[in-house]
Symmetry: C2
DNA sequence: ACATATAGATAGGAATCCTATTTATCCGTC
DNA sequence: GACGGATAAATAGGATTCCTATCTATATGT
């Protein structure tokens, strides 16, 4: 009898192919949503990134890291947004070399408009059961953390690295975790990926919290 | 006590954000792998798509559908690849309007070189346990199927839509499914996303197979 | 045949994205 | 306090992606 282990690609490779498939839909979604607001996917990503951060603005370098592109490319996109009046470049308070890119009021309106657009990806995710969605969220968080540790992603504002996060602080099966910032219990389905209130914990504290939070996953070597 | 349901974005929305995060890494990975072979992510996607299909070649329209871009864009990329000698445009056997885009020997070599490149995404996926990887594969398959049904993806060569697929044909917990093509039992971790031997089953047969395969997930309306 | 639909190419233009380089500022050290 | 190496961003130059709109040629149905 044939052996599937030798017939097919390794599982991680097939998974990556699957994620690539999802990524093409994601990108097509971004095109339709963004172009309805007069911009394109990259610009919309920059805009929503800036909108989710503080009023002090972000540096071009940080925008580039978030997009996973080089700094000149980020400059291009920021300039395109500036031409459209959706962002403004200001002086950085701490460093005269740096600039602070901030969303304008018009920019925030565009973000909101784009956020309201129904996307094929959302509809597909909605066909999963609540349990499946929660499972998927956890897996995505694990991947994001691995990628952050590997340096493939800049610091992510996820619960796992936050000083306010208390994993398994409660006996409840539904809401075992606790957030010291809002002082509330919550469950896996409420874990955040980019929390505005995130404060990074000390590395050793992060490691310990992760160990208690997700003992199953191995730490990348 | 604060309520997380009202505090945070809906779960599908956060999931989409997470997938977007993974997509940026995926794209950066594609850049480094592809540029080592003298091309860019889009070209490498076209090339590996063609390499995974028959020798009769694919039409420009199909390339466009696979990439999720418009036909003129696909023409651009195919032309770029043709200039580099990695694909060839030939006459289509069935339709004089159409062309058959085929990989050249050099093109296959490039695909192989890119495939061997170690990627950050693969390393991250490898940090998941085998069980987690299998869970993720299943979730990704469910999403791909939803997206295909919704028309957001062209026909995917996944087991779930294949006439050779017999879900839960065996009592084995490890390898409950059966593939009539290779005549072998297999488990969730061996499910394929783009099987070269795939033959689409009748819609009604597909629906019935899916019902037996994954009773939990709801069908998109 | 004739109208309509479809495959692909072409035209035109905005943006993405890279590498390499330049300018200005920061920062630790002598 | 000046000097030299890092760092933030801009600039230059160029290939490609990606769109919409349109054009040509072939297919297809009445």
């Amino acid at each position: 009898m044939a052996d599937f282990e030798t017939l097919s690609e390794p599982l991680p490779r097939r998974l990556r192919d699957g994620l690539e498939r999802l990524a093409t839909v994601l990108k097509a979604d971004q095109w339709s949503a963004a172009s309805a607001a007069g911009l394109n996917p990259t610009q919309s990503l920059v805009l929503s990134y800036l909108a989710g951060r503080g009023a002090s603005g972000m540096r071009v370098k940080e925008v580039a890291a978030h997009l996973g592109v080089t700094q000149p490319t980020a400059t291009d996109s920021v300039n395109a947004l500036e031409r459209k009046g959706l962002v403004r470049k200001g002086a950085d308070a701490d460093d005269a070399r740096a600039i602070a890119v901030r969303v304008t009021t018009a920019g925030r309106a565009a973000v909101k408009a784009i956020g309201l657009t129904a996307m094929a990806t959302d509809r597909a995710l909605a066909t999963l059961t609540h349990g499946e969605q929660a499972d998927m969220l956890l897996l995505v968080i694990k991947l994001i953390r691995s990628l952050q540790i590997a340096g493939a992603l800049p610091d992510q504002r996820i619960c796992a690295t936050c000083k306010y996060f208390q994993p398994h602080a409660h006996a409840s099966a539904d809401k075992p975790h606790h957030c010291n910032f809002v002082n509330a219990a919550f469950g896996a389905r409420h874990l955040r990926l980019d929390c505005a209130e995130h404060e990074p914990a000390e590395p050793s504290v992060q490691a310990e919290a992760w160990r208690r939070f997700a003992p199953e996953t191995s730490t990348p070597s």
